[in-house]
């Protein structure tokens, strides 16, 4: 088993050394993002996507603090995003021209304002969490997000349904990524010190935590406040980057997508949230590129793509069932495994044919690429959940040791 652990004070050199190196790496990364604008000047679309993915990293990691680390069930993260965006956007429209502040300092100030506004909102939403648990909390946060959105539609001061145009447009890619890095750093620092443990403890068992003297109320509200303030700051950056916000940009779907990033990445894993945010933001955008391909190819492949994903889902479900039924005899299991695989293949052809038929009957000349891309996204979501319900990274975090262990394990298997 594991040997007893020696707890040592980290050496001063190592502690400060690693922090300086991280800081330098972070600055270099932000500078890299900022300067990427030059080489990508021809492909602004790509650059834009790269920059905006930083916002989703912030959103996912901050939601992870609430959902993954503290174990609360919040599915209304877009509300905080929206509050930050609208507060900052409105203030800029109203006040920027009268202030003698440079654009970037102003933007940083607006980030703080957006964060503060979202934090207050987070406090208000966090308070019900004292009384509610699980699904009830989830539905309340969801409802809260909708209420904020509908209110925004009906306030003409902030543009109503038409949206709010923000003048001036202040685009600062490095700041977007700096916020993402700050968010990751804050969550990681929290988990690195003993201060993070009560958050995890609340996730694991609230009753036991409070019996250990952990004020669950305080922890939950703290998580809500920190998480929402990051979302608010991200909203402020979004508002100034796009120079335009509408209530529709903060619909329920946004909350769902961010939640999906957290769960797929592995609840509680900051690494997982980061990677999943990048993947799930870039995947639909990459699928958007399918449009570039010839239309005929898509007409043919749509039933196949969907058929294949459905067949995979069927395969997993059947395989699980078989496994539950016949725990024990390996040979039997292997046989059934192949049987199931064959059945799934049959299903694939069946689905394909059915879809092609339906598509033909419905008189579709082509496939709506947007629906196709979202359908594939949804199918991938289901497949990942069926294969790895704990998320791709589970509770793991990226670390060199973890990477090494993966590598070493593989070697052992090979030998």
């Amino acid at each position: 088993m594991n040997p007893a652990v020696e707890i040592q004070k980290p050496s001063l050199l190592k502690f400060w050394g690693s922090r300086v190196i991280s800081a330098i790496a972070a600055i270099a990364f932000c500078a890299g993002i900022q300067s990427l604008g030059g080489p990508l000047a021809d492909n602004e679309f790509l650059y834009r996507i790269i920059v905006l993915s930083g916002l989703y990293v912030t959103l996912a990691v901050s939601l992870n603090l609430i959902n993954g680390i503290t174990g609360q069930f919040s599915i209304g993260h877009a509300a905080f995003y929206q509050v930050g965006a609208y507060t900052a956007g409105y203030l800029t429209v109203r006040m920027f021209s009268t202030q003698q502040i440079g654009e970037v300092p102003w933007l940083i100030l607006m980030c703080l304002v957006g964060a503060a506004a979202a934090a207050i909102t987070g406090l208000i939403v966090g308070l019900p969490s004292l009384r509610l648990k699980g699904d009830y909390l989830a539905i309340v946060t969801l409802g809260f997000g909708e209420i904020i959105r509908i209110i925004a539609i009906n306030i003409d001061e902030v543009g109503g349904a038409y949206g709010l145009s923000i003048v001036p447009k202040i685009q600062s890619p490095w700041l977007i990524w700096a916020l993402a890095i700050l968010c990751i750093a804050v969550c990681r620092n929290l988990l690195k010190t003993a201060h993070g443990l009560p958050f995890l403890a609340v996730r694991e068992d609230e009753v036991a935590s409070s019996a250990m003297g952990v004020s669950t109320t305080k922890i939950k509200v703290t998580a809500f406040v920190i998480g929402s303030s990051f979302a608010g700051a991200a909203g402020a950056l979004l508002a100034h980057y796009e120079a335009f916000i509408t209530p529709d940009m903060f619909k329920m779907e946004v909350s769902f997508i961010v939640l999906t990033m957290v769960v797929i990445g592995g609840t509680g894993s900051i690494t997982g949230s980061t990677v999943a945010a990048l993947a799930l933001f870039l995947l639909p955008e990459w699928l958007r590129g399918l449009k570039e391909a010839n239309g005929d190819a898509l007409v043919v492949s749509a039933p196949q793509l969907l058929g294949a994903t459905l067949a995979i889902i069927a395969y997993i479900a059947l395989a699980r069932r078989v496994r539950d039924h016949y725990h024990g005899k390996p040979i039997q299991k292997a046989g059934f495994q192949f049987g199931v695989a064959a059945a799934s293949l049959v299903l694939f052809f069946l689905f394909k044919a059915v879809f092609a038929q339906i598509g033909g009957l419905a008189g579709h000349e082509g496939w709506e690429i947007n629906s196709l891309r979202m359908a594939i996204f949804a199918a991938v979501l289901i497949v990942i959940m069926l294969l790895r319900p704990q998320g791709v990274f589970g509770h793991h975090e990226f670390s060199w040791a973890w990477l090494k262990s993966l590598f070493v394990k593989k070697k052992q298997e090979a030998s």
Partner: protein, 272 residues
């Protein structure tokens, strides 16, 4: 199996005893059901006190009202002279009462070490900001807490599994870990809810030694619920017996053992 020597010690203790926990007519009703009906008893500093009774007697409920999970409908609970009835669990823990749970409630996916650190976190000094910015005070405090936790694990003989997931431990070790975690909060009074449940005789023996050590070496007061009569009778110096929420007997193990009410309540179970 009464140990007269111990009884004498007990008697002398009683003379100079300072009460640490007093239940005065503690009552709790759920709807029409009176789960605990004016239970009163007093624990003195350094006591090893047992709370027994057949299934559904309301033992765990007594624990729950002491630790603030439930607010008693009426009656007082004095801890070091202060009424703690209705305080929140975390407040009670901060005042110095800590407990374990009948159905083990560990932080399953945290490591054994981390579980104990959560207990010790109660006495933290640095603020949250210090942690978020990873400033040296928070880092140093973390190291200290981990060291203390490691020491406790050594005592509870769990040091070798410090890095394992708590949920992966075998049952007996989980029970010990719960006690270690409770100890980490630095309580004056520790409540153990069926610590020996599911253990084999050897493990029970070891557990009894540990509980005595907690009392003697760490200078804690212990209140425990137990099902296993022999275990309680051997370990505890004073015992209260509950049945259907009512206190039916109290005193030294000998007195309790011979009380006809207790025998009646335990009919069929005493042979255990």
């Amino acid at each position: 199996m009464a140990n007269t020597a111990e009884q004498e010690t007990q008697a002398t203790l009683d003379e100079s005893a300072t009460p640490i926990l007093e239940l005065a007519d503690a009552t709790i009703k759920f709807g029409g059901l009176t789960a605990v009906d004016s239970v009163s008893f007093t624990l003195n500093k350094g006591d090893l006190f047992g709370l027994i009774g057949p299934n559904g007697a309301g033992k765990t409920t007594v624990f729950n009202i002491i630790t603030g999970v439930y607010k008693p409908t009426s009656g007082d609970i004095l801890f070091n002279g202060r009424n703690i009835a209705g305080l929140k669990p975390e407040k009670v823990a901060q005042l110095g009462i800590c407990r374990t749970f009948q159905n083990i409630r560990l932080f399953g996916s945290l490591s054994v070490l981390e579980n104990v650190v959560v207990g010790g976190f109660l006495r933290k000094k640095t603020g949250l900001f210090s942690a978020l910015a990873l400033l040296p005070p928070a880092v140093n405090e973390t190291t200290e807490l981990r060291k203390k936790a490691m020491d406790l694990l050594e005592v509870m003989d769990l040091a070798d599994v410090a890095q394992s997931r708590a949920a992966d431990l075998p049952y007996g070790k989980q029970r010990r870990l719960e006690i270690a975690r409770a100890m980490a909060t630095g309580p004056d009074l520790i409540l153990l809810d069926e610590p020996a449940a599911g253990m084999n005789p050897q493990e029970k023996e070891a557990l009894a030694t540990t509980v005595r050590r907690i009392r003697d070496d760490f200078d804690k007061t212990v209140l425990l619920i137990e099902h296993d009569m022999r275990f309680v009778m051997n370990l505890c110096e004073r015992i209260v017996v509950l049945d259907h929420g009512v206190e039916i007997s109290a005193g030294t193990p000998d007195i309790v053992r011979n009380d006809p009410k207790v025998i009646e309540a335990y009919l069929g179970e005493e042979s255990e």
